[in-house]
Assembly symmetry: C2
Homo-oligomer: 234 residues x 2
């Protein structure tokens, strides 16, 4: 089915791994953490257990670096049976600080796309995660000037998006969401009658993975790179 984009007035961009690199830093942190835990478990097991711990703590800590660090610390105590060294604890705290202080690395072509689209559409950022982290990254990115509104959501489910559209005072058919996560940026939008374009990032957090069944029959476009948006919307 052809998609009609003429009705679009507002375009929402996901931030992490859509505007800039993010997941790569989490992957690297997990590798560092697995090295610290090498005396107790294989890297593979450490990864699996850490992911489980993150999922257990997600309702409590939410998304973002701080909750990730707290989960690593709890995991370190558990994997080591309460014998992990203070040096390792300090290293884990420093992994977190390093992540927060990382420079913002924009994805290829993003600035040109935002510049061109901002002439014709109202652009917003719709991201989940830690409020301060995301504001800091937006500031560092120097992309703020292209956006009409920044929305940091505590989660990206259908209800969160419906509230956002209500707040923006637009009909779902007037909204296009662009992002790298099928689970968070694409499917909830398609399910509420909005548009969505999927731009896969080379690595996806396990939590964001979906099955073929989830995507079957859903109407959204997949693009190779963000620059391809301009071929469709301009």
């Amino acid at each position: 089915m052809e998609i009609d984009y003429d009705s679009i007035k507002v375009i929402g961009f996901d931030a992490d791994d859509t505007l800039w690199v993010n997941e790569t830093y989490f992957r690297n942190a997990e590798i560092e953490f697995a090295k610290l835990m090498a005396p107790y478990e294989t890297a593979n097991k450490v990864d699996q257990e850490l992911f489980k711990m993150e999922m257990t703590n997600l309702p409590l800590y939410g998304y973002g670096v701080k909750g990730f660090v707290l989960s690593m610390l709890e995991m370190a105590l558990k994997l080591s049976n309460g014998t992990v060294s203070n040096v390792a604890i300090e290293s884990i705290l420093n992994i977190g600080k390093g992540m927060i202080n990382k420079p913002v690395e924009l994805l290829d072509g993003i600035e040109e796309v935002l510049e061109k689209l901002s002439d014709k559409y109202r652009l917003i950022v719709a991201t989940k995660g830690d409020l301060l982290d995301q504001e800091r990254k937006l500031e560092k990115s120097e992309l703020l000037k292209y956006f009409h509104h920044i929305e940091v959501l505590s989660d990206k489910k259908e209800a969160n998006y419906s509230r956002l559209l209500e707040h923006l005072d637009i009909h779902p058919s007037e909204f296009l969401m662009v992002g790298n996560s099928l689970k968070s940026d694409i499917l909830p939008l398609v399910n509420i009658g909005a548009h969505a374009m999927h731009i896969p990032f080379h690595t996806t957090w396990t939590h964001e993975q979906v099955t073929n069944e989830d995507t079957n029959g859903k109407n959204y476009k997949t693009l190779n790179s963000v620059s391809d948006i301009l071929k469709i919307l301009n």
Copy 2:
């Protein structure tokens, strides 16, 4: 000088220690932390050092429980000279989880005030802190129905409020802010030409304290309790 409240259209409420108890839980957590650190330092010194650590980490971690826990952990390593036990580390993680899981305890009279004011004014929440923490507390509080909009700010400086008012599409003279912190809820508003009512809470975080010089000549009302708003606005 008499203040003219006739122009007010929107009333913003701070959340922590204005709608519900919060600071008390931080004070109690500090007492628990000082007990864990008793082998290394006096409670008084632990308090002082922890506050300094929080201030150092504030630009990195922002406000909220998670950053507070990360600062306690860093402090524990430092105060113990890298000898703190895994049991104490675990206790600190659990202090944080306990804080996040605390039930929401509304301040006296708040619900009646919101119910009456919501007939005549648009009410919003303007809070700083952790996005997920604040959303969770609002949910638990069952006060959401009175509010037209929830704004979680990464900080509460003049610029943050100016952006909020712009976003709400109202003039500063049409906005009244109600809160317990002179530094965060009152002075920035008065300074940008909006109205403010101060309702002191019995305990104030050192970071939120201001001097007489800061408040000298500033035009705002101080109330004994939130119910007093109804005497002025109704």
